[in-house]
């Protein structure tokens, strides 16, 4: 009986909570119809894209892929109807002020840039002309090798043309990273020449393992579908310094960690005390013997 009542109560609470969860994000009326002062052109949309990748992608995911973070409420995809139904002023207000899981960007992104972000979001509105054409990724492959003597990574990139043949990939950015404990640290990028080749000099400051071996990862940008090339243990980095943090002797609460000078002085002092006691007893015995004589 009690569980039935509990279930009913939970049901009622969920019913009451539902409209609250889906509640619209109210934008003040005076903010709602503000027009976007920044013009809708390729330059602004491109800048907006950079800002989006830096600040918004981690939660909202890639445009059109619905791969946002599983948060409650879910961050909408920017191509979705829910997002595009907002007015420019409404979007600006929401980006500026934030709410709940959505951070405020008032302090971190300038007003001009926030408007540029809106231009980027509008690139995915069906009523607008699409300025950024997202072509599907092209099949490509990378070959890379390390020249350990010169500390250089030599790269050859090719892409698959329409007839299925591999051609040299010109003027494409190649990203070179070093494998670290939990991810890849970007070392820099290089541009391929007209032969699809590129040479990247590994910076002097790169730290490898104890022998200076670095695992280098070479990737192309998102316009190309290519397996990343992993060059295991290339000796191009500085050897990792591993300072010893602890000296075993510092802790001497157990016998195996005791410091040798401490052990010797203790044993010396204790030994001296026993010798003194023995000497006194010996003297007493001696006195007694003398008194008998």
């Amino acid at each position: 009986m009690k569980t039935k009542v509990n279930r009913l109560m939970i049901g009622i609470l969920m019913f009451l909570a539902l409209p609250g969860m889906g509640q619209d994000w109210q934008v003040p009326a005076d903010q709602l119809n503000i027009e976007n002062p920044s013009s809708y052109n390729l330059e602004n949309v491109k800048k907006g894209k950079d800002l989006y990748l830096q600040n918004c992608k981690s939660c909202h995911g890639d445009p059109g892929k619905n791969n946002h973070l599983p948060l409650v409420p879910p961050p909408p995809d920017i191509t979705s109807e829910q997002m595009q139904a907002n007015t420019d002023g409404g979007l600006f207000y929401k980006i500026t002020k934030g709410r709940g899981g959505m951070p405020q960007f008032e302090t971190t992104i300038s007003a001009d840039d926030r408007w540029r972000l809106i231009n980027f979001i509008r690139n995915y509105n069906s009523e607008n002309e699409q300025l950024l054409i997202d072509a599907p990724p092209v099949n490509a492959k990378i070959l890379a090798s390390v020249n350990e003597a010169d500390k250089k990574v030599e790269i050859l990139a090719e892409y698959e043309d329409k007839s299925g043949n591999y051609q040299q990939l010109e003027n494409a950015p190649v990203f070179i990273s070093a494998k670290k404990a939990f991810g890849n640290l970007l070392l820099g990028q290089a541009l391929t020449d007209k032969n699809g080749r590129s040479v990247f000099s590994v910076p002097e400051t790169v730290i490898g393992d104890e022998e200076g071996n670095v695992t280098i990862v070479v990737t192309l940008d998102e316009n190309y579908k290519a397996d990343q090339v992993v060059l295991e243990e290339a000796k191009v980095g500085k050897p990792k310094e591993v300072p010893q943090l602890i000296r075993k002797e510092v802790l001497w609460s157990t016998n195996e960690n005791v410091q040798i000078w401490l052990l010797l002085s203790y044993l010396g002092a204790a030994g001296a005390a026993w010798i003194a006691i023995g000497y006194v007893i010996f003297q007493l015995v001696k006195i007694k013997r003398f008194s008998k004589q």
Binding site: K180, A181, I207, E210, K240, V242, P243, L245, V250
Partner: protein, 305 residues
Amino acid sequence: MERNTRRNFIRKLGATVGAAGVVGGTSILSSCNSVETSSGDKIKLLTSSGELVEVDKSQLTPAEMPNLSENQTRGREGLPGRSWVMVIDLSKCRNARECMKACQNHHQLRPEQHHINVLQMQDAEHTAPYYMPKPCQHCDNPPCTKVCPVNATFKRNDGIVLIDNERCIGCRFCIAACPYSARVFNWFEPRDAEKYKGVTYNIEANVPQKKGTISKCLFSADRLRDGKLPSCVSACPNGVYWFGDRNEDAVTNGTTKETVSFSKLIKDNAAYTLMEELGTKPRVYYLPPKDRAFPFEGELIEHHS
């Protein structure tokens, strides 16, 4: 001498294919033999990934349980060549407390026990309040390890300060010595004590917890051994935590998975450590709460923990 004619080539090819067929056939036969030995008695098992599978009883071999002393030896040694550091970006914390939840689940803590706590801070009367997650600082010069009379708490070479609950006598000297109040005492039977009865103690996670002993943040040393980020770092939805190896000068954000240079991150953002005047040399670095992504919400509650 045999001539290299087409006929000879075909003959050789035939011999090779035939030999391969014989080898393949025997291996298939032998696999049939092994099937025959199965008892037909099936048993249902839950895999570590949560999948229910059926396995023949004859296929089962007893799992090797990690030995207690072996666990403790490797726990005391640490991961060679590593020097773990954490960077906490105060401008990103929204008091979501996902780090606390994940930590309590990982270390089987009761709801009132915190290895990591999100505090509400206000440095002076007119300064802006902010949220500050505070784990154990894993000092390079830890006062706690020096006062332990039984060497139950110790520092490893990879920078983590751990506790051996099998050795701890519960004297609480370490709690008194820690200036960051990072340690908790198990006054009562720990959470799920019954459930984990008889499970081999893991020194790198302090589980199962033990009544009458001390527990504290361990940077999820058991997860690090598996190449995973600590629980709190992975659980944060707002990108507050960076974690990595100082020796290789790289830290990774738990939320965005971005890896950056540790020295550049702390230099560019004017990072600081807590109570550095005490000379404890903490391993947890804080980035100031500048340009807060989430404004402080509600009233500031005065508490000291």
